[in-house]
């Protein structure tokens, strides 16, 4: 088990202002699988992702990734092999920039400090924009995009990172059918290439169709495992109707 897991979360506890958001989470994400992370609002899904990406400091516990030699390494050591797709509502889409430039940002991590994008980077960005079906949008200002197109731009940016692990926060929230179709097709391609994909997901209807594995979270891990073994009404009920008396906002 330990060998085939791309990411291992070990006894992770995260708190905001002494208010626990995640309690003692231990999980393993398998390489080459698509895993759904589900749970009600305020269950700590985004927080878990942020802890995995080093964006929030855990109180205790750690997250280790497996590198190419199957050695356990921290996020920092492997950051150029991990791509993050934030919720598309997390940025200001009136920002003066073009679709092309946003996708190009996916190359910045590989470039490092001070180095300018090269032709190779521009070419990769162009290809990724083609993949998400927006090649003619390259010069558009990003505010002129629909919600679904924004999400596809974010996915293209992550694809431009050419990573092994893709961590996505609600990539299918509020997108049109066409976008959902394109995103899922591309994610399945990534998994087929042996990459690891984690998706915070809200639509329980599509879990069985889209995902290999599932993690139920509500402050703690309620259940985790392959979808066909783990995904059932009882677990869903347990996750979503769990009494939480910790005063956390919904």
């Amino acid at each position: 088990m330990k060998k085939e897991s791309a990411i291992q979360i070990d006894k992770l506890t995260v708190a905001y202002e002494a208010q626990p958001v995640l309690l003692n989470i231990s999980l393993a994400f398998k390489k080459g699988k698509m895993t759904a992370i589900v749970g009600p609002n305020g269950a700590g899904k985004s927080t878990m992702i942020k802890a995995m990406l080093g964006l929030v400091e855990p109180v205790t516990g750690e997250v280790v990734y497996q590198d190419v030699d199957q050695e356990a390494v921290s996020y920092k050591e492997l950051k150029n092999r991990i791509a993050y797709v934030p919720q598309n509502t997390s940025v200001d889409w009136d920002f003066p920039t073009t679709v092309r430039d946003v996708v190009l940002m996916g190359r910045y991590g590989h470039l490092g400090w001070f180095k300018r994008p090269k032709n190779k980077d521009r070419e990769i960005a162009r290809q990724m924009l083609l993949k998400v079906g927006l090649p003619s949008f390259a010069s558009r200002q990003i505010s002129q995009l629909s919600g679904g197109q924004r999400q596809r731009v974010f996915l293209a940016r992550a694809l431009a990172q050419e990573a092994d692990v893709y961590i996505m926060d609600e990539p299918l929230a509020g997108v049109d059918m066409k976008t959902e179709h394109i995103i899922m097709k591309l994610l399945k391609q990534l998994v087929a290439e042996g990459k690891t994909v984690l998706v915070v997901h809200h639509d329980l209807q599509t879990v069985e169709e889209y995902f290999d594995d599932i993690v139920f979270i509500n402050q703690e891990v309620i259940a985790a495992g392959p979808v066909d073994e783990t995904f059932d009404k009882q677990t869903v009920k347990k996750t979503y109707h769990r009494d939480r008396n910790l005063g956390e906002g919904e």
Partner: protein, 308 residues
């Protein structure tokens, strides 16, 4: 009138001062673009007001109007104010906007008290200290302009050097952090750049209005382009010409404070841009709406005729 204008333009002191305010405008435009995009326009306002007591106290300590020392005083009290704002928002239930205005007004009040006390204390050197409130560019000396130009070169170099990092961080800070760009480093450099820009602008534009020079040019520039590079350049140019034109107007009469004139010029640029910008301007948008309405009405008529 024309001769008078020519005399001013060819005057060395004017050229020097106009260069100084021009550079200040340029820097405010460039750096202010990041501040407005980061939605921190008000922070500049608080910082500049908070600089006043620092200026006064620095003068009390050295009893001379030595710009560099006064600037250090301004930086120190600006930093104390920033720390206070952060402390208030973190440790109490007071929200950021209230904390900003609270610190802004109390520091500014304290500054006025200190300045009044200095004025009541006879010292030939105190003259011109009041100019920090509304700004008096004519007080600028050659070495002040050299200092401003020096700071300008450093800041513009930083903007070019960190172009990609600043852009990515300003647009999506979380994403930028996951790429391994330290938010602490970027945040620190950006804040220091804003502080320095404010500080060098205090004498000529004044503590009350320097923030308008930070915000105005970038808002005007944003109306004309959707690209960060062009917005930054346009904002810089807008700031530069506002500084020069403002100084010119202020030189034409006695006792016209430079700061307010510069800010009026900036505001004219902003209003003109909001009205006349080709795509986003009010007039362009109104015309587009008209055309849509016309189109809609013709279609409605076509439908009606088809029915009858």
């Amino acid at each position: 009138m024309l001769i008078e204008l020519f005399t001013i333009l060819s005057d060395y002191t004017f050229q020097l001062v106009a260069l100084g305010t021009g550079i200040i405008g340029l820097l405010s435009g460039v750096i202010g673009t990041y501040a407005t995009l980061r939605k921190e326009s008000l922070l500049g306002d608080a910082l500049s007001h908070a600089a006043l007591p620092g200026i006064g106290l620095a003068f009390v300590m050295i009893q001379r109007k030595e710009l560099l020392f006064l600037m250090i005083g301004a930086i120190v009290s600006g930093l104390i104010a920033t720390a206070l704002i952060q402390l208030i928002t973190r440790k109490t239930l007071v929200k950021l906007d209230s904390a900003l205005s609270l610190v802004l007004s109390s520091f500014f009040g304290l500054g006025l008290v200190v300045l009044t006390a200095i004025q009541n204390n006879p010292n030939a050197q105190q003259a011109g200290l009041q100019s920090f409130i509304f700004g008096q560019a004519s007080a600028m000396l050659q070495r002040d302009v050299q200092l401003i130009a020096g700071v300008g070169v450093i800041l513009l170099t930083l903007v070019v050097l960190f172009w990609k990092e600043f852009k990515c961080y300003t647009f999506d800070p979380m994403f930028s952090r996951t790429l391994g760009f330290s938010s602490k480093v970027i945040e620190f450099i950006l804040s220091m750049m804003i502080v320095l820009t404010i500080i060098i602008g205090l004498e000529s534009v004044g503590v009350i209005l320097i923030s308008a020079l930070l915000i105005g040019p970038s808002i005007a520039a944003r109306q004309w382009s959707h690209r960060l590079s062009r917005v930054v350049i346009l904002a810089g140019l807008t700031g530069f010409f506002s500084g020069v034109i403002g100084t010119l107007v202020s030189s034409m009469g006695d006792n016209i404070p430079t700061g307010p004139v510069i800010v009026v010029v900036v505001s004219l640029f902003v209003f003109a841009s909001l009205l006349f910008a080709p795509k986003q301007g009010l007039i362009a948008r109104r015309i587009r709406k008209r055309e849509k309405q016309k189109h809609f009405l013709t279609r409605l008529n076509d439908l009606k005729e088809g029915q009858s």
